[in-house]
Symmetry: C2
Subunit: 279 residues, 2 copies
DNA sequence: GCTGATCGATATCGCTCGGGTATCGCTGCA
DNA sequence: TGCAGCGATACCCGAGCGATATCGATCAGC
C-alpha cells in the first residue's frame, strides 16, 4: 500500500463521490477510479460499494478510513519534524489553550529555560480540543491539556496537577455566599443557564445557555447575571469583584497533564517533561 | 513522501550500509542510493552522512527513523485490520501475557460472551513487552497489560484493577513467616538473588540472579532456595505448598489496564472495553 | 415510458520514474 | 602502491500513472 493510494482512498471515502474527490486531489476521475480498484485488488477486499448513483463505505472501508487518516497525519508529522530537526537550533513548540493555568505555565517555562541546553520554546496558542491534532500532525512537540475535557488518546502523558472545580456566579447571587455547592445546585438554575463551549467539531452542543468562545466573554455574561459555569479552580482565581467562585463538591477533578507523541525522541522534549514533572 | 521511500530509508538507517540494505530490500544498490538522495531532496535536508567507508545518521535522520518505523507499523496494521474487517465474522484478538491474572481474564471473557453481538475472542498469548508492538502492527485488537511493567505509550487505556505486590519466598525461609516485608529486605538477600526477566529487547539485564522466562521456572527455582522475586498479588495466589507469599509494603502497586490502539472504531472492541470497565 | 443528465468504469496513449547493469571515484589497509 | 570495499553516476528498459475519449447504467422529469 502506498501513501498516494491511501490519500486517494481517504479523499473518496470522505467525499463519497469520485468526481469531487478527483477534483480535490487535482487529478482526473479515471485514474482515481483505477487507483481505488487497484488498492482493493491488492488488499483483496472491497472498500467501497458503488452504483452509478451512490458510493458507500464497506465495513473494511470504514476501518481503512480511520487507519488511513492516522497514517496521513503521521506522514505529514514525520516530514515536518524531520525538517525542523534539521534546522540549526530547533525550537520546541508547546501547544496550550489560551487560559491554561497561567502560574503553572510560567513556572514551567522558567524552570525549563534554566536547564542547560534548553531550546527556545515557542508557544502555540490553540482552541480547546485542537491539541491532539497539532501533536499528531507534527505542528507541536508537546502540549498541556486538561483531562477529562481534552482527549489524550494515543498520546503519552505525565500528570502535573489535579484540582477541583468551582462554580462562577454573580457576586450578588444567593448561592455566591455558600461555602460549597453541588453540581445540581448550579446546573439546574433556570435563570442562569450553563454556558456552552464549542465541541471537538467546532460546533456548539444543544442547550439553553449562551455560546461562548473564551473566559473573558463568559465572565462578562456571568457578571451581567445571564449565565454561570463550572471551571477548574485555577481558572476561577483572581476574579473580577462582581464575580464569586464557589467550590463544587461533586464535580469531577480536573487534571493538567503534559502530553507528547509517543515516539518522540527529542532530547529537548524529554528535558521539558522531566522539568515539568519535578515542578 | 511515499511508503516505498520510507521503507528504503528505514532499511538503510538500520543497516547503516547501502549494500546490505539493498540486499534486505531485494533490490540493487544503485536505485536505493538514488531513492535516498531523492527523499533528501524532497525533504530539503540531509538524512545520512556518507563517506565511502561509513554511513551515519544525521539528527534529522534519527527523527525520521523513529517516525518512519511508527508509520510502517501503522501501514501494516491498516492492511491487516482492513482485511480482517472484510471477513464474514471478524474475531477479536486479545493479547495477554501468559500468567495474566487468570480470574480477571475468565470473568472478562464470560461477561463479554454474554453480550449481544459478541465476536469470537481469540487469545494471543505473548511474551512480556510484546503487547505494544502487537497492537501497533495490527496483530491484536486489544490487550491486557500491567503498569508500570509494560509500556502503554501511544495506546488508549482503561484502568481495570490495582493490586499490591508480594515477595515469593521458600516456605522455610525466615522472612516467610513475616506478615509483611520491605523491598530492601528481599532484594538484598545475598543467598537469594532476585531473578531476572528478559527486557524489551529480549535480552536479560545484568545481575546475579537466575534468568527465567516464566513463572513455573521461577517458582521451581525459589522452591529450591535459589532465588526470590517480587510479583503482583494475583500471581502469588494459589502457590505450591513449599512457597510463601509475603506482602511487600513499599513495592509500587501494579495496575492491570485494558489497552487498544487509539483510533480503533470497531464496535466489538468498544463492547469489550465497556464490559471490562464494568466488571 | 422515453430522454437527457449524471456518474463510475473502460480503453488507449504518452511520458515519467523506478529498477536493472556497468562503471567510476574515493578511502582505508596491507 | 595496489587492491578491496562501498557509494555515486551513467544509461537503458519497462511498468505504471495521468490524461482524453467514450461507454454503460441509473435516476429525474415530462
Amino acid at each position: 500500500m502506498e501513501i498516494r493510494e491511501l490519500r486517494y482512498f481517504v479523499a473518496v471515502a470522505e467525499e463519497l463521490h469520485f468526481g469531487k474527490a478527483a477534483q480535490r486531489l487535482g487529478i482526473a476521475q479515471p485514474p482515481l477510479s483505477r487507483a481505488i480498484t487497484q488498492l482493493e485488488r491488492r488488499l483483496g477486499t472491497a472498500l467501497l460499494e458503488r452504483t452509478s448513483r451512490k458510493v458507500t463505505l464497506t465495513e473494511a472501508g470504514a476501518v481503512l478510513l480511520a487507519e488511513g487518516r492516522a497514517i496521513l497525519s503521521a506522514v505529514t508529522a514525520a516530514e515536518r519534524r524531520t525538517q525542523r530537526a534539521a534546522t540549526a537550533h530547533p525550537s520546541l513548540v508547546l501547544a496550550v489553550k489560551s487560559g491554561t493555568a497561567g502560574e503553572l505555565l510560567a513556572k514551567l517555562l522558567d524552570a525549563y529555560a534554566a536547564e542547560p541546553g534548553a531550546a527556545t520554546v515557542d508557544l502555540l496558542l490553540c482552541e480547546a480540543h485542537q491539541h491532539q491534532q497539532l501533536l499528531k500532525d507534527g505542528e507541536a512537540d508537546v502540549a498541556l491539556l486538561h483531562l477529562p475535557f481534552d482527549s489524550a488518546a494515543g498520546l503519552d502523558t505525565e500528570l502535573l496537577y489535579t484540582e477541583g472545580q468551582v462554580a462562577i456566579l454573580p457576586a450578588s447571587h444567593p448561592l455566591a455566599s455558600c461555602s460549597q455547592v453541588r453540581l445540581n445546585d448550579v446546573t439546574t438554575l433556570p435563570e442562569l443557564p450553563v454556558a456552552r463551549w464549542p465541541g471537538p467539531g467546532g460546533s456548539y452542543p444543544e442547550g439553553p445557555g449562551a455560546e461562548v468562545r473564551n473566559l473573558t466573554q463568559l465572565f462578562q455574561l456571568i457578571a451581567l447575571g445571564r449565565s454561570t459555569v463550572v471551571v477548574p479552580e485555577s481558572a476561577g482565581a483572581d476574579l473580577r469583584r462582581d464575580l464569586a467562585a464557589v467550590p463544587v463538591l461533586d464535580a469531577p477533578p480536573v487534571t493538567t497533564v503534559i502530553a507528547w507523541p509517543p515516539h518522540s525522541r527529542l532530547r529537548t522534549v524529554a528535558d521539558l517533561i522531566r522539568v515539568a514533572t519535578c515542578l
